[in-house]
Subunit: 203 residues, 2 copies
């Protein structure tokens, strides 16, 4: 199994370098479980699927805390057949759920979002889930949408994606559950997400 | 058929609202062939698959021209079974290629990139192609990677995505060809892309 994310943090500020550098400390508690590499477009985080979103949450909340309009974009992937196995990606026991019926996975995912701790930082998010290599990929997508609509973080359906809004704690947990709970458990799943904080636009 | 993009433009500047508003005129020549809707996270463009990237190119080049570090993220989709048919999305004759063998599509795509006009704006880009609902999705992905490696815009392979660099003209044409030339012609294909201009980071 190989899992990880390519992520980019965009502070809409002349001071964007300082905002990014100032937020990086928030990744320290996660560094022993992640491999991190940066270039001019994105930062790669390789590690177990279930800690990718908690680590991104801490980074994004730290960047947004100063009030600057910030966005984060991530392309998150697990089980890509073109990637090598990597021991750092092995989930801890109880990490990824075994294949279970869709309704059981929806219930479990809702429970995890309900239990998520609030951070005090409101965010908007929108994401697309891509369960690859499956003839019945829309079943998994519709199952995931059912979960998200009942998660308490759902704002609206949009073309090509689903929009969330709420505290960063439950919003990132919703994304984490969508990524780990849907699509084949040993299969290839990608998720594309954009998060936004402190936007001057109100809709 | 339904096709379109959710896109967001991120100028890393205190003046980000003015940079975005100043770039919007560049979409004027495309507006009669697109339906455009905006909220606080992204702008939806609905229209034929083959004009989505040319329209995004004009928007991004206009935003980057002032020298501000700008990025653009887009989630681009065609043929999603959950979306309604929309006449605005019908490609003009000769728009989408009919199903053809992979090597023919690779050659045709290379020719289009070679013919692309330069804009004078250098950009970096990285993208992921998601051909959905296919058991053999990796064949299409590998075929697309073969095309990109021979396109003249290829920089490097990264985990989960492929990185391009060059003038915005051929780079956006490479993305457009990847989106329209690979995956089932009548099937569900999504593409996720991040573009960057005027970055202070050099790698």
């Amino acid at each position: 199994m190989f899992s990880g994310a390519q992520l980019s943090l965009y502070p809409m500020s002349d001071d964007f370098v300082a905002v990014i550098l100032g937020a990086l400390d928030a990744l320290d508690p996660w560094r022993d479980r992640l491999r991190i590499e940066t270039d001019d477009v994105s930062t790669l985080m390789v590690g177990p699927a279930d800690i990718l979103f908690p680590a991104m949450r801490d980074l994004f909340v730290a960047a947004a805390r100063g009030g600057v309009h910030c966005t984060l974009h991530a392309t998150v992937s697990r089980g890509c057949p073109g990637e090598p196995d990597d021991p750092i990606c092995t989930p801890p026991e109880g990490g990824l759920r075994a294949d279970a019926p869709l309704h059981t996975r929806i219930e479990a995912a809702r429970g995890r979002v309900e239990a998520a701790k609030e951070t005090g930082q409101p965010v908007a998010a929108q994401f697309s889930l891509y369960p690859l290599g499956l003839g019945h990929h829309m079943d998994e997508i519709y199952g995931c949408i059912d979960f998200v609509k009942a998660s308490g973080t759902f704002e609206k359906s949009k073309h090509f994606c689903t929009k969330l809004r709420g505290d960063a704690g439950p919003v990132f947990e919703t994304l984490s559950q969508a990524f780990t709970g849907f699509g084949a458990q040993a299969g290839h799943v990608a998720l594309d997400v954009t998060l936004s904080a402190n936007s001057p636009s109100k809709f």
